[in-house]
Structure formats: structure tokens, C-alpha cells
């Protein structure tokens, strides 16, 4: 049923317009409390400290309800944390949103039924106010990047779930953001499509050099995609471990079969089960990628 085109090598002709500082995202002592309808509060996130360097691919993994989606939305200034500071590209998160420094991909594609694929990708560019020629250029470029150039004038209902998500990714990248936030984007897809899209995301990441924060509850996915995996505890969510993923790039199917991959998957799994207690808390506060 899928009508996806076979992959062709595409090189990105543009690079992020902003010169991103070395630290892309800086979270310090972030805490999030929600008021309960019956009264009282619940703590969703507690004492979150995380520094993400430019160009990294960081996954956030944790059990359901641990607050990872909330955390992502805090980075995107869609929710204000109760306390703590959030800096994106050296500015406050709010300013980063107003400057449109990031693109976001949600679990559902959230495409507009009434717009063609091209028009959907164009949406943020219209809001940004770019002129028509620039808009069309970027749309074409982004659709080439996600390998959907032949579907410019299709409507979302004509595409499969995986294709719709690729359109959503193209849309998120059309602003050429320095930061890409992804909230379990492939959760609703079947395993095979998911693995294929994982490879696509990595390819796009390599070509564009965007920093990526990727929320997931799939351990294999987190390890395969990331340079680091931040493991969260159940509610109240804290970052209990950060696993360095030192698998070589570029990663492909054979990576998934390597011994090191399985070791790392096991490490993450053990962390999730709370069995890997790190000796010192310093490990939680990382200063960026090792290399």
C-alpha cells in the first residue's frame, strides 16, 4: 500500500542560518508542578539538569507519565516551568520560540486536511512572511530531503501514516531551525516503517547538522538514533542516568546487529529499571558531548 519513493541521495543546499552557540539547550533545576482538579499539586518534573551541545542527538526515554513530553514542551516554550531556567541557543525559551529557533514534530502529524503536502510544509514560512519564491524554494528542498518530491500536490488523506510524518518533519525543518524537537513521532507506526524512518531521521540529521531532542519510549530506537540517551524515572520525573552512545557513524542496519548496540540497549534498560546506580551525581550534569 505504501507509495514511498525509493531513496535517492540528496544533499542539503542550505545550512542553519543562525550560528548556534556551542550549547544548544541548557536546562537548570527545572521543576514542573501541576494543580490537581480536586486541589493539591502533583510534581511532574523535578530537578532537571541537562546540557545539550549543538549538533547532538539526544533521546529522552522513560516510562509513561514520567513527564518527558512535558519536558519537551518546556524546551519549546509551550509550557512554562514552575521553576528553573531554560535556555535555547543562548536565549530564554520564550524568546527562542518567538524567534522560531526550533521546529517541532508531534506524535500525530497534525497536518491540515485542507492543504496539499506542499502547502502544509509552507505553513510556517507563510507565518514567517517569506516571499513566495523563497517559500517555494524551501518547500521543494525540504520535500526532496524527506524524499516526497513526487507528492507535492497530494492531500494528507492520500498518504500513509509514515508519509504524513515525513511531511511533518519536512515542515518542521522548513524554518531551518537550529533545534528539532520530536515527541514520539513514530509511536503510531508499525515497526518496519519505524525502523526505516529512524534511518531517514539520521540521514537528515547528518545532512542538516540540526540539534535534535527526541522523546521516545522505545529503547532500541533511542540507542540507534542518539549520541546520548537521557533516562528518566517515573513521576516525579528526574533524569536518573545519561548513557553515552559511542556507536560509530554513519549508523545502519548492521549497527543494530552489533554487540556494542546490544550492550548499550541493555545499559539503558537497566537504568530504566533503576538498577544502574551511578556512583556520583556528577554524571547527571553533563557538559556536552565527549568529543
Amino acid at each position: 500500500m505504501s507509495r514511498e519513493t525509493t531513496g535517492t541521495a540528496v544533499t542539503a543546499t542550505s545550512s542553519p542560518e543562525q550560528r548556534s552557540p556551542k550549547i544548544a539547550v541548557d536546562l537548570r533545576a527545572v521543576e514542573m508542578r501541576f494543580e490537581l482538579p480536586g486541589g493539591g499539586t502533583t510534581v511532574a518534573l523535578q530537578d532537571i539538569d541537562l546540557r545539550i551541545g549543538a549538533g547532538e542527538f539526544v533521546s529522552i526515554i522513560g516510562p509513561s507519565g514520567c513527564g518527558k513530553s512535558t519536558l519537551l514542551r518546556i524546551v519549546g516554550d509551550l509550557i512554562r516551568p514552575t521553576s528553573g531556567t531554560v535556555e535555547v541557543n543562548g536565549k530564554g525559551a520564550h524568546q527562542a520560540r518567538l524567534d522560531r529557533d526550533y521546529g517541532m514534530v508531534f506524535q500525530a502529524p497534525v497536518l491540515f486536511d485542507w492543504r496539499t503536502v506542499a502547502a502544509n510544509v509552507r505553513l510556517p514560512l507563510e507565518i514567517l512572511g517569506l516571499d513566495q519564491r523563497e517559500r517555494e524554494r524551501r518547500v521543494a528542498e525540504m520535500l526532496e530531503l524527506v524524499e516526497l518530491s513526487g507528492f507535492l500536490n497530494h492531500y494528507p488523506y492520500q498518504l500513509s501514516g509514515g508519509m504524513q510524518q515525513r511531511v511533518a518533519i519536512a515542515r518542521a525543518l522548513s524554518l531551518q531551525p537550529a533545534l528539532l524537537l520530536m515527541d514520539e513521532p513514530f509511536g503510531a507506526l508499525d515497526e518496519m516503517t519505524r525502523e526505516r524512518l529512524n534511518a531517514e531521521v539520521l540521514r537528515i540529521w547528518r545532512q542538516t547538522g540540526t540539534t535534535v531532542i527526541f522523546v521516545t519510549h522505545s529503547i532500541p530506537e533511542a540507542v540507534f538514533l542518539s549520541t546520548r540517551v537521557a533516562v528518566m524515572s517515573p513521576r516525579p520525573g528526574r533524569i536518573i542516568d545519561v548513557v553515552e552512545v559511542d556507536l560509530p557513524q554513519p549508523r545502519n542496519e548492521s549497527t543494530r546487529e552489533s554487540e556494542r548496540y546490544f550492550e548499550l540497549v541493555t545499559d539503558v534498560r537497566e537504568s530504566l529499571r533503576g538498577r544502574r546506580q551511578r556512583a556520583s551525581n556528577e554524571r547527571l550534569k553533563t557538559e556536552g558531548p565527549a568529543g
Binding site: R100, P109, V110, W114, Y157, L159, S160, G161, L175
Partner: protein, 275 residues
């Protein structure tokens, strides 16, 4: 979002048979019923003598005999219905935008509009005839407009307000303002609702015009033609008038459906998917 629909490649000779069969399956039974119905009607009512429910042939004859009167009356009534449709729709859309913008207005207007659907609004037809002049087509237009106003208001407001929260969150991530959201999300979202209301409204506009005429009007409008020929016993003409009015409503409905297909092609396809 719906999954992909594998489009069937254009049928060759083998496929053509399938298409014809599907077409026949869909259209033949109702066509047979229509034909049988008309024939049965004719058989039961044909023959001399004045009948309250005349034979179809008698109706056609009466229509041809009085085609001038019927034609002028139809034109007058169709104008009233159309005028009322336009006024009611414009009013409904305007107030809907206002109630989408201001929550307090919405909390007042929407329950009123929904509650009005329980009331026989048509009962104010004689009042409107008195207000605007019983011989003035505007009085019938006002009746039609009043009937049209409420469904349009309810549906357009719903369409503007009932937008998925994810879409709104997406727009916020682009730091867009209310105008962006209105133009790019709410208005397109509202269009299917609008056309649904418009289809109902075409029928209502004819009801408003005809019933307004029943309570009084010039003698060359369909409603008066129907009543007058009824009281003078020329039932074929009365039926001709009524059928003409019904046809006007159907034509209006079809026209709106057609415009809907052009304006929101994506929506019809989705509905077909879900059928």
C-alpha cells in the same frame, strides 16, 4: 488522519464491466421505484372527474396550460427564497465570527440559537407580513432569512471554535498571532460546517418563502397560486405549483453541493473514505 487509499488504476475493458455494474447497482433500484411510483400514481388517478390528488398527466397538462403564471410565480418565489438565503447567511456568518471572537457573546448567543430550533419560528410569518407589507417580497425574504440565520450561526461558530488542540499548539510553536490562527486554521476548518448549514438553509429558505406567502402575498407567487387554485378546485395547478417549489429547493441543494465540491474538494473525498 485516514490511512492511504490505494487508488485503483483507470479501468480497462475488464474494469469497465465492473464500473457499469456498480453504477447500475447504485442507481437502478431507486430509478425503478421512481418509475413504478409515477406509473402507479397515474393508473390510480387517471380518468375523468376532479380529484384532490390528480394524475401526474393532469398536473403536467395544467402546468403547460398555465406556464406563464407558473413561470412568473416561480421566479418571484425563487427570488424571495434566494434573497432570504443571502440575508440569513450573511447575518449568520457575521454573528458567528463575533461569537467565535468573544466568549461572552458566544455563551449568550449559542444557547439562544440552539433553543430557537425548538420553537416554531414560522409562526411569526404573519407578523413579518405586517411589518414589511404583505404584498412586499421583502416580508417573505425576512421569514426565509430568519429561518436560515440560526443553523448558519450554530454551524459556522462550531467550525470556527472546534479546532483540534494539537493544531493550535502547532501554531503556537510558530509564534503566530490570533489573526494567523483565524485565517489559516479556523476559517478553513469552518468551511465544511458552513456548507452543511448552507444545504439545510436552502430548504429552509423555500419553506420560509412559501409559508410566508401562505399567510398573504401578491397573487403571482407560488404560495398564493397553490392556495388559490386549491380553493377554486383546480388541484392539478395547485400540485404543479407545489412541485415547482419543491424542485426549486432541490435545485438549490444540488447547486450548493456543486459549489461545495469546488470549494472544498478534499472534504468530499474524506467523507467518501469514511463511508
Amino acid at each position: 488522519m485516514s490511512a492511504a487509499v490505494p487508488t485503483v488504476p483507470h479501468s480497462g475493458t475488464l474494469g469497465a464491466g465492473l464500473v457499469v455494474r456498480a453504477w447500475a447497482r447504485r442507481y437502478l433500484p431507486p430509478a425503478v421505484v421512481a418509475l413504478a411510483g409515477v406509473v402507479l400514481w397515474e393508473l390510480l388517478t387517471a380518468g375523468p372527474g376532479r380529484r384532490v390528488i390528480p394524475a401526474p398527466s393532469a398536473i403536467v397538462v395544467a402546468a403547460i396550460q398555465d406556464y406563464g403564471l407558473l413561470g412568473r410565480s416561480a421566479q418571484a418565489t425563487f427570488t424571495e427564497a434566494f434573497g432570504g438565503l443571502v440575508i440569513g447567511t450573511v447575518g449568520g456568518v457575521a454573528v458567528a465570527f463575533a461569537s467565535a471572537r468573544w466568549v461572552t457573546a458566544r455563551n449568550v448567543l449559542l444557547p439562544v440559537a440552539i433553543g430557537s430550533s425548538a420553537i416554531p419560528i414560522i409562526a411569526v410569518a404573519p407578523i413579518l407580513n405586517n411589518w414589511f407589507g404583505v404584498l412586499n417580497p421583502v416580508s417573505k425574504m425576512m421569514m426565509a432569512a430568519l429561518l436560515v440565520f440560526f443553523p448558519v450561526l450554530i454551524n459556522v461558530t462550531r467550525g470556527l471554535v472546534e479546532v483540534s488542540p494539537s493544531a493550535l499548539e502547532l501554531m503556537r510553536s510558530y509564534a503566530s498571532n490570533e489573526v494567523h490562527v483565524l485565517r489559516k486554521v479556523r476559517v478553513p476548518n469552518m468551511l465544511p460546517f458552513f456548507f452543511t448549514a448552507l444545504k439545510v438553509a436552502t430548504t429552509l429558505s423555500f419553506i420560509g418563502a412559501l409559508v410566508g406567502e401562505y399567510f398573504g402575498g401578491t397573487s403571482e407567487v407560488l404560495g398564493r397560486v397553490v392556495l388559490q387554485s386549491m380553493s377554486s378546485g383546480s388541484f392539478p395547478l395547485a400540485w404543479a405549483g407545489i412541485l415547482l417549489g419543491a424542485m426549486g429547493a432541490i435545485v438549490g441543494y444540488v447547486a450548493v453541493s456543486f459549489i461545495e465540491r469546488l470549494a472544498i474538494p478534499w472534504h468530499a473525498a474524506i467523507r467518501l473514505d469514511e463511508a
